[in-house]
Amino acid sequence: MNRFITETDNLGLTKDRWDNLAVNIKNKFLNFPELKKIISLTDNSYLYYFKPSFLQIKTNRSGMGISNPASKKNFIQSKADDSLNSDIQKIHETDLPESKKFNNSQHHGDVTVSLIGYFLIRKR
């Protein structure tokens, strides 16, 4: 038991060796690029972990929503506004090259977002 504790301590696997930063976004109006940016930051990285807890995304305008207009695989876009298609597609093609595309809108406040979780960052 003591050995385990020592090892975990040496490896930094104890709670006191990590910082805990809470994220609590409530009903925030965001456009798609902003949403995409935020979502991408909640991925785990070599610098930190993100512990997700709750996410809610609501489209604000009628007919706008998460969709995939071009293919069965790659896109999420608003079909109600064709002018957004290219932007959305552009966003997804440029920022999410890993084949997962996220619908976007240049319109400010395309979606209302609530997001709860916390970052777990190892102390240096």
């Binding site: 504790i5 929503g65 998460i66």
Partner: protein
Amino acid sequence: MHMGDNFIIDLDESTYDLVGENLHTLSGDFDSVKECKILVTDFANTSVSRVMHVDADIKYAEAMAARKFQNDGDFDEPVSVITHWKRKKGKKNAEIFCTAVPSRIYFQYLEQINGHENLVILLPVLSVLADFIGHIPHKNPIAVIFRHGRFADLVIAKKTQYYYTARYVMFDTSEEQILNLWKTIKREIETATEEQAIQMEKIIFLNWIDTGRNEPFFDNFKTDCFVFNEETIFADDDSYNISFTKALKMCSPLKGIAPGNGKIFYFADKLYPYIMVIFIILIVVMSSGYFSYHFKTKRLRQNIAATQQHIHKMRSRMTSSIPVQSNYLKSVKFIDSLFYIKHMPSYRKIINDISSGLYPSIKINDLNINYTERTIKVRLYGIIDVGFDTAYKDYEAFLANLVSDGYLIDKNNFKTDIQRSEFNLLLSWSMK
């Protein structure tokens, strides 16, 4: 020393000091008497003994007897009655065997005893004879005769009943007088036997230093007669075979009269050596008990101390192990949470899983992702803005993609108005 071995015998106007087997004649007073003594007396021949019937309650028997003695002319002065035996006979009748003594004489004796440092119990001669009968095994009545000097005392009785008593006096101790005495006694015994309708079992003779053992009465009785066991008594450079002293030593001091706390003092004095022995034994027992107890409690205390020390050590170990255990559990929990965070699908992964399965006709207006312990709940609300035939086909394909990505469909609500459809979907994902 045997209880009752020390006596002062006041008999026939002579006084003797009996210590064991040694009899010494005293000068007449008791001042030279040392140690605890019982005074045996015939009250200087002033007493009269009798077995009588009284017409009174047993508790008044002595008073009635005293009156009877006076009425019969035995005394012309106040008398005190010493009871040797009495028995209730009906409601207002009693039988009593007693000795009446002029009160003047009686109190004189009591005062002598009270005033003496060592004399404590007064024992009438008839009390000795009365008690002696109780010690002799018999079924039918027996007669006890104690001759001393010019006198002979007779008691006819059995253990539970006294029949007759009398004192006989001779003018002198000549053979003729002695022979007449025995004739008289024989006649008296026969008369008493006849009157009381009893059968005499045996006649026992007690002798004294002035009476030989070959008394003529042996020839005069048909009943079994014998001299009671004699003992050799040394008196004034001579020795005697006497049975009265033997009877005397058999007598219980309780039969005596003790002014004040005489009997208590007597028994306390006699029991003193035994009390001392018992006391010493008690001290030894208590001391050994104390040391044994002390030893045991010492051992017990040592055991308690050792146990307490053991408990203290165990507590110390437990106390020291609690933080270790606590740290261990905290570490395990934290590592587990890191594992969970690392392997649970991120928000982006879930959004990508959903979007990758979407057909162009499907638009999602509301997305909820809720992380619980090891499960993720996803709620989707969306619309499909094409005709029903295409909409439902696309929707089914969308569901199929989600299932293939590892999601379970907990709730699936699809509504359509032909041209446009809506769906409400509840998915779950669990870490395996």
